[in-house]
């Protein structure tokens, strides 16, 4: 008969033995992608309460936007008063939400000037848009995403630790967010008001390169 006390003692001895026979660990040079993910995790660990509050706030805001959408659905007066994508900063986030009823059919776009070295690894089709993921050999990520009003009423991006710059993309006002952290991913966000589409590109690129990337986006249908 094996008692719990015997198991406790033997399990401890088994673990001690396993720890004494671990593979030899050399200092490993972790990839930039891993370091970025860990920085986010450490930031979340360092501010657990704020993280929980922000999650709560995000949930509440989504509920508010859903409610707002419901009001718009039943109120012609409310629908008449607003139209298009609206941007609202909120704590460390930017909320983009669509207001209006003249939703267009979903347009298709593509990035025509993908920087050298990036390979398209995934295309994610969602109800309201598409996400193109490109990857380089060093695991650098480039994400091009667009969301049409036809399928999505809101989405948000985190801009914590970013500096904002107002720029233009093919004559349309846009925002570039440059990370305050070295080697981090930067982002450009802009809209095509005529099609009710909002775009963003995340990439390890500077402001000028992001604008160039954004200006290379072309409609394909």
């Amino acid at each position: 008969m094996i008692t719990d006390a015997m198991l406790r003692e033997a399990a401890g001895e088994a673990e001690r033995f396993l720890l004494a026979h671990l593979p030899e660990s050399q200092p490993h040079h972790f990839s930039p992608r891993f370091e970025r993910r860990m920085r986010k995790l450490i930031s979340r660990a360092n501010h657990p309460v704020r993280y929980l509050v922000l999650r709560y706030v995000a949930a509440v805001l989504l509920a508010v936007f859903t409610l707002f959408g419901a009001i718009l659905a039943v109120s012609p007066e409310a629908r008449a008063s607003v139209n298009g994508w609206i941007r609202r900063p909120f704590f460390d986030y930017l909320y983009y939400f669509y207001k209006g009823e003249d939703k267009t059919a979903m347009a298709e776009y593509e990035l025509t000037a993908v920087p050298k070295g990036y390979q398209l690894v995934d295309v994610i089709q969602s109800e309201g848009g598409k996400t193109y993921l490109y990857l380089k050999h060093d695991r650098s990520v480039l994400e091009f995403r667009y969301v049409c009003a036809a399928g999505t009423d809101h989405y948000f991006i985190s801009i914590k630790d970013f500096d904002q710059h107002s720029v233009t993309v093919n004559g349309v006002l846009a925002d570039v967010y440059i990370s305050k952290k070295e080697d981090d991913t930067n982002v450009i966000v802009w809209q095509d008001p005529s099609e009710n589409v909002v775009f963003h590109i995340f990439a390890e690129a500077d402001k000028a390169a992001l604008i160039e990337l954004a200006e290379s986006v072309q409609k394909t249908n």
Binding site: I2, L19, S31, M38, L41, H47
Partner: protein, 172 residues
Amino acid sequence: MFVYLQMIETPEERSKFESIYLLYRDTMYAVAYRILQNPQDAEDTVHHTFLKILENLSKIPEIDCPKTKGYIVTIVENRAIDIYRRKKAHPTVPYDEKNVGTTVAYDGSDALAECILKLSPRQRNLLILRYHHGYELKEVAKMLGITYSNALTIEKRAKKKLKTICEEAEMI
């Protein structure tokens, strides 16, 4: 409100996770890499393990101690085995079966510990977390990313197999 919230995050609590990260990341990578033989998969495993550690940070009383190291190695090994099995089901690169889990020949004097080491890594890890670390089965299930009923089944089978191994070794 935020001023108050910031105040209850003590510097000690703030640095705990980061200290664990800096102390164990290379060991965790080595454990994951031994199983997966792929740098990206090993890094993903380490990242996922830190997510689990963050969820259970309050259960780690001391940063630099064998018990914490054992707990972390157990979690990372378990995750690496999960990824290994998934990759094996959809193979894109060859994996070597013999690298799955830590398998070492015991040369100590505790016969029951020797039998525990003959269990599968998942069974062994569950018993170590349950009986050496003293976690409830529900907590272990959460740490290993399995359902409670699955954890119950693994524990039941582990004990049954342990009994068989002990009988074969004429321990009981």
